[in-house]
Amino acid sequence: MPLPHLILGLIDPADDNMSDKTVKDAYLQKVHAFPPEQFPEKFRKIREAYEILKDEKSRLAYTLFYTEALETNEILSALLLDQSRSVPDEKQFLAALRESLQP
């Protein structure tokens, strides 16, 4: 799995000081936000990411040996979509509305 850190919302994948507790806290936070009953697919990914990062040994193994380069969509998702949401300004809202009215 590429960049499991991002799935758990851990910013720095190369952070050497990342502790088991940090990872577990991030995991629990995500599970709370995406309970398996409502988001089975998302939960599966969260669980998978946690399994990779849960202890020092598996974290190190991932850092040392993971070779699967990310695909374009994965990179773009990681860099552009996985972040906090905002609200547009009125102009942007109305411009998009105007555009949507055009055939």
Partner: protein, 837 residues
């Protein structure tokens, strides 16, 4: 001036061409020789509304009072309006509509609704709105408001008015009375939107409450509310498809998608929609700019149906500076770039420019990961270098494990007879345990290596044995209660013939897991083995003791019950005691073939057979409705048991097998599938029971009609004969294969294909020893070769047919000749062709 004239000329010549194209089309009923009335009518019928309008206009000039022409003109105009609207030419459609209304007024005619699809005032207003004529549309709306409100299409139209009024300048709104619902609701909607964008949600809610449920702005209310609600997708889905706000709501719905779908939506979004989504996604201007560049590249790649190369991706990440404006993303970008470096190492200089040089250890790591894709041996060296650059014990342990994995794969690929010690998985796993002695997986892997089949394993040296014992002891110390470790240790002890230790470990395993079938079976076998030895040496009291132990562990084990019967027989030769036991064992086995083999083997091993056959009469109740699959499974289990006996040096099993011939014949008659019969033939030849093999193949002849094919295959598989097929025989087989393909006999074609494949493979290995080969490097063994032989046919140790003779054993000359002829027929393709008949 000259330019304008030219343009006009070009237009007129284009129109001429267009007219030329339209008028004389094939199958056209409008002939130029027809009367103008007929021509006009035909244009109308063929939905050429533009031509029909022109034609009826001309006709009306000549006869202005002709009502038929007037109605036809009206019909043509309406059709034209719709045609233009379909082409999204709303302005043109509305102009024609207005001209038509003017014409109807002049001629005191009423608007006539030709069909349900005919355009109406509502359509006209929508065309006006869509062609930026909000002002004009509002004027028309005010004029006919009372009529419009009664129409069924009003709810659709009002959402369009709402959306356009929201975007229209203030002056347009002034056309409406201040207390007009559209005006007042529009002001409220604008206020709510302003509050939403300023994130003043309380004020927004208060304002939205003032907009009534049936308002023209109700869909906007839904959208604004949805943006704050957790399940926004559901609220947005309530916006009806006919609403003017629907396309806009769909843009916002994409924000609720998973990343992959959202990305796809972003790739196809129009500029302002992208900008809106970007704003929601918190992108800055630079990121949006970068995205637009990426989008172009993606579009080109999609068009050419190619994936974006990793090199290009890396290039984006390194060079599109916009990504670096997000500091929290920098670490992610660096990680992604490192991963991409593995695929595009040539971009390293660019990487250095942005992120600086990599450390020595990191360089070695990347180098090793790149190298291992094509050269595992070099990769091992790279990892060895990496180990010198790192101090962390856990990293060293992990790298040794990785090296063990590489060495394991290398061992499977290499042609070398000897692998250096530092290239063996065993070495690296042992090394890894020095740095991380708690790794269960390494212990398990090592125990599996130690417990490998003796035939595959090199004899361990004394030093190796010591280190192995240490590893096993360490594993049992670190994981004293682990089932997998205990099972692996038991297997290892069994393979070293350390049965006492194996039994002790099995007992330990049973204390942890009392139902563990592996431990039970192991202990039962151990006790039976002791019982067998004691029975042969006449120590009956010890046999009884061992059997009690065995039955305590597995009271219903068929082997134990069987041996109890044999022991009873050995003690006192009375059928009343042992027969019930033997029969019970047969029942428990549920496979009489296997039971009979086991019984006979045990009796022969205990040297009791001669006496036993007089008394032992196991009743074998063979079901008459035995299925072919069940028969095959029974025989398969029998062969597996025989293999086990062979491996464990039970020399009596072959004689025991001979004694079950009758039953074997009975069971094997049920098997019909050629592949299964081939397998059985091969096994019979493998166990060297040639008389039974002969009988089996002769039965094939009756059953399958192509006995030789099976027979040959069986012989070839079991004796590795294909290497001894001559050129001419090979060519004949190829011809037979072609014939089978031509006649559509897939089964024979497949059989021949696999046979030809194995022959070729075998010939390849024969060529490895080719005495005429100039390249000495390829020859890794010294074959004593007769240089007078032709290289291609070497080694021919005898004719294939002669080899078959050996297997055919006691066949009469006539039978042999018959089989030879059939073989010849198969090879020349006659049978393959004939089978279909």
């Amino acid at each position: 001036m000259a330019k304008r004239r030219n343009k006009k000329n070009r237009q007129s010549s284009f129109n001429k061409k267009l007219n030329k194209k339209i008028v004389p089309s094939s199958g056209d009923t409008s002939d130029t020789r027809q009367s103008p009335e007929l021509q006009a009518e035909s244009h109308l019928q063929l939905h050429r509304y533009k031509n029909a309008m022109d034609a009826f206009k001309r006709l009306l000039k000549n006869s202005p009072d002709n009502n038929q022409f007037k109605h036809a003109f009206q019909q043509a105009s309406q059709g034209r309006c719709l045609q233009l609207a379909e082409k999204k030419m709303f302005k043109e459609a509305s102009v024609i509509w207005e001209n038509l209304q003017h014409f109807l007024e002049q001629n005191s005619l009423e608007q006539k609704q030709q069909t349900e699809q005919s355009p109406h005032l509502g359509d006209y207003l929508q065309w006006l709105l869509q062609s930026a004529g909000t002002h004009k549309a509002l004027d028309a709306f005010i004029q006919h408001e009372s009529d419009i409100r009664k129409c069924t299409w009003f709810p659709v139209l009002q959402s369009h008015f709402a959306a356009h009024l929201l975007l229209a300048p203030e002056q347009t709104l002034k056309l409406l009375a201040s207390d007009h619902p559209l005006n007042s609701h529009c002001c409220l909607a604008k206020k709510a939107l302003k509050a939403y964008c300023a994130q003043q949600y309380d004020e927004m809610h208060e304002t939205l409450k003032k907009i009534p449920f049936r308002s023209a702005f109700k869909d906007l209310v839904l959208i604004l509310k949805a943006e704050l609600a957790p399940g926004s997708g559901q609220l947005l889905s309530k916006v009806p498809q006919h609403s003017a706000f629907y396309p806009f709501s769909q843009i916002l719905v994409s924000l609720t998608f998973e990343n992959e779908a959202l990305l796809e939506k972003l790739k196809v979004s129009r500029p302002h929609a992208t900008a809106l989504l970007a704003a929601y996604l918190n992108w800055d201007k630079e990121t949006l700019k970068a995205w637009n560049k990426i989008k172009q590249t993606l579009a080109v790649a999609k068009k050419s149906k190619k994936l974006i190369k990793k090199k290009v991706l890396l290039h984006w990440l390194i060079h599109l500076k916009s990504f670096s404006t997000m500091p929290e993303k920098e670490a992610i970008i660096q990680s992604v770039c490192r991963l991409l470096l593995l695929e595009a190492p040539s971009e390293y200089p660019a990487y250095v420019q942005r992120f600086g040089t990599l450390g020595n250890a990191e360089m070695r790591r990347i180098e090793a990961l790149i190298t291992e894709k094509h050269n595992r041996e070099d990769a091992l060296d790279e990892w060895e270098d990496f180990l010198t650059q790192t101090e962390k014990p856990l990293v060293k342990a992990l790298v040794h494990r990785k090296m063990a994995e590489l060495a394991k794969r290398m061992a499977g690929e290499t042609f070398y007879y000897e692998i250096e010690e530092e290239y063996t998985p065993e070495y690296h796993l042992q090394q890894s345990l020095l740095y991380d002695p708690d790794d269960k997986d390494s212990y398990l892997q090592l125990l599996a290596i130690y417990g490998q089949d003796k035939s595959q394993q090199k004899k361990a040296t004394g030093k190796q044995n010591k280190s192995r014992q240490k590893v096993i002891n360490d594993a049992l110390t670190h994981f004293p209660h682990d089932r997998n470790i205990l099972i692996a240790a038991i297997k290892e002890s069994q393979h070293r013939n350390a049965f006492k230790k194996a039994a002790a470990l099995a007992n330990r395993l049973l204390t942890i897991d009392p139902t563990n079938s592996f431990a039970r079976q192991m202990l039962v076998e151990s006790h039976l083995s002791h019982a067998r030895k004691n029975l042969v040496s006449g120590k009956h009291h010890l046999v009884a003791k061992e059997l009690i132990f065995a039955s305590n562990i597995a009271p219903d084990s068929p082997r134990v019950v069987l041996y109890q019967g044999i022991f009873s027989f050995a003690q006192q030769e009375s059928p009343e005691i042992y027969n019930p036991l033997i029969n019970k064992a047969f029942e428990l086995y549920n496979n009489p073939l296997l039971a009979l083999l086991t019984l006979n083997t045990e009796l022969l091993t205990a040297r009791l057979h001669q006496t036993a056959t007089k008394c032992l009469t196991p009743t074998i109740d063979l079901e008459t409705t035995l299925s072919p699959m069940q028969s095959f499974n029974w025989i398969n289990a029998l062969f597996e048991q025989m293999q086990w006996y062979q491996n464990d040096n039970f020399h009596e099993f072959f004689n025991a097998f001979v004694k079950s011939d009758k039953l074997f014949k009975l069971v094997s008659k049920n098997i019909e599938l050629p592949e299964q019969r081939i397998k059985i033939s091969s096994q019979l030849i493998h166990f060297k029971h040639y008389p039974l093999a002969k009988w089996f193949v002769k039965f094939d002849k009756q059953l399958l009609k192509t006995p030789i094919m099976q027979y040959y295959q069986a012989i070839a598989d079991s004796r590795n004969l294909p290497g001894q097929v001559t050129d001419s025989q090979f060519k004949r087989l190829e011809t037979a294969y072609d014939n089978a393909i031509d006649t559509g006999d897939k089964r024979v074609a497949n059989l021949l294909m696999s046979l030809l494949g194995s022959i070729e493979e075998s010939r390849f290995s024969a060529r490895m020893f080719d005495p005429y080969d100039d390249d000495d490097d390829d020859d890794f063994g010294d074959a004593s070769i007769d240089e007078n032989k032709a290289p291609f046919d070497y080694p021919v140790q005898g004719d294939l047919f002669a080899m078959m003779d050996e297997i055919m054993g006691n066949l009469s000359e006539a039978e042999k000749k018959n089989i030879m002829n059939e073989m010849d027929e198969v090879i020349s393709g006659k049978i393959s062709g004939g089978r279909n008949k």
